[in-house]
């Protein structure tokens, strides 16, 4: 596959250690034609050195066309695979095209691309293989409904116990992976609701996780995909997967492939 070179020079604001990395913005999108162009433009404005790849997870609207027109590379799933499949496809793209870091940004504009440097910092400093942007580390104007907050807290508790480090936001989709995490997740990524399990999987492979505080914008168009009944199913499924995962044997750390 040949890739287009990004002509724009790196803006002076970009940290030279970040500029030295081949960096990919990975945007999973399902029916986001209204917001996707804005997300891509914001990422480019914040750091023109990012290549943007949109994983169109079987959208029924014009998400793919809009994203392409906005200058992103678009990978289209023939049908909807769910967020886990979309993210994994993006990470496989990152692996196959030899990127150093892949930053996952939601297609619905709830993440602020200006915060990407914050998310990359622990990777540059060699402190993390996966960095998760947490909504609950003090920058918080984000206030979910009580029922969801309880679920989020419970999952944070359980995951913190499993990975023996404090984790505050297990479901955040604003995250960055380095080469090791990309290699791991490209070959093994959870299904259905993957964010929580991915953190534990990372730990079981002895890769490092760091959380950094981020803002969360309120959702513009569209509601959360997780409704009341689904959240019951969600909790049960995630807890089951975490429990069974405890009894799986994992290989020792993945080597940097190459």
């Amino acid at each position: 596959m040949q890739r287009e070179q990004i002509a724009a020079p790196s803006s002076p604001k970009v940290d030279s250690r970040i500029a030295a990395l081949r960096r990919l913005a990975l945007i999973p999108a399902f029916n986001e034609e209204d917001s996707i162009a804005g997300v891509i433009a914001e990422i480019r404005a914040a750091d023109p050195g990012f290549e943007a790849v949109v994983i169109d997870d079987g959208s029924k609207d014009r998400t793919a066309q809009v994203a392409e027109a906005a200058g992103a590379h678009v990978v289209r799933h023939p049908y909807n695979l769910g967020i886990g499949g979309a993210v994994q496809t993006g990470l496989q793209y990152a692996r196959d095209h030899d990127f150093d870091v892949a930053v996952q940004v939601d297609g619905d504009a709830q993440h602020d691309p200006l915060e990407i440097p914050k998310i990359l910092a622990p990777i540059i400093e060699g402190k993390a293989d996966l960095v998760v942007g947490s909504r609950f580390l003090g920058e918080g104007e984000y206030e979910p409904p009580v029922s969801r907050l309880l679920g989020i807290r419970l999952l944070a508790r359980i995951v913190s116990m499993l990975v023996r480090q404090r984790v505050t936001d297990t479901t955040s989709g604003f995250r960055a992976s380095n080469r090791r995490a990309i290699a791991l997740f490209a070959s093994d990524y959870p299904h259905d609701y993957p964010e929580v399990e991915a953190i534990v999987l990372l730990f079981r492979h002895r890769l490092k996780l760091v959380e950094v505080p981020v803002h969360m914008r309120l959702r513009g168009a569209g509601e959360s995909s997780i409704t009341f009944w689904r959240s019951g199913y969600y909790m049960f499924k995630v807890l089951l997967a975490l429990f069974v995962g405890l009894f799986r044997r994992y290989p020792t750390p993945l080597e940097d492939h190459e």
Partner: protein
């Protein structure tokens, strides 16, 4: 008939079922989303096995004179639902399979066209 012994046997069977499901998930031969129905089944059998009165209560409530009949009715209904569920799953898989085949065929024909001298 010794209800106690029946309870024990039913409970052991349920536990074996639960363990088999667990092992299938662990070895990645069964995805969690499909395992949940089976786990529910195992748990219901376990509860009915240990809590003898429950079946009679259910039978009374729906007007079935002979409690074991209620068990058969419940089991048959559940199996029917499970089969219906799998029919929908198979339908989805068949659809996806068709789409994949179409995509692949179109991709192949495009590669064929682009091959120099082809």
């Amino acid at each position: 008939m010794t209800p106690f012994r029946v309870s024990i046997v039913a409970a052991i069977a349920a536990l074996l079922l639960l363990f088999a499901i667990f092992e299938l998930i662990r070895s990645r031969r069964l995805q969690e989303r499909y395992a949940m129905l089976w786990l529910l089944t195992g748990i219901v059998i376990l509860i009915l096995g240990l809590w003898r009165g429950l079946l009679s209560t259910i039978a009374d409530a729906v007007g079935i004179a002979y409690p074991p009949s209620a068990l058969f009715v419940l089991a048959a209904l559940f199996i029917l639902l499970l089969l219906l569920h799998y029919s929908t799953v198979i339908s989805a898989l068949a659809d996806q399979n068709r789409i994949l085949a179409q995509r692949l065929a179109l991709l192949e024909s495009r590669l064929e066209e682009e091959r120099p001298g082809g």
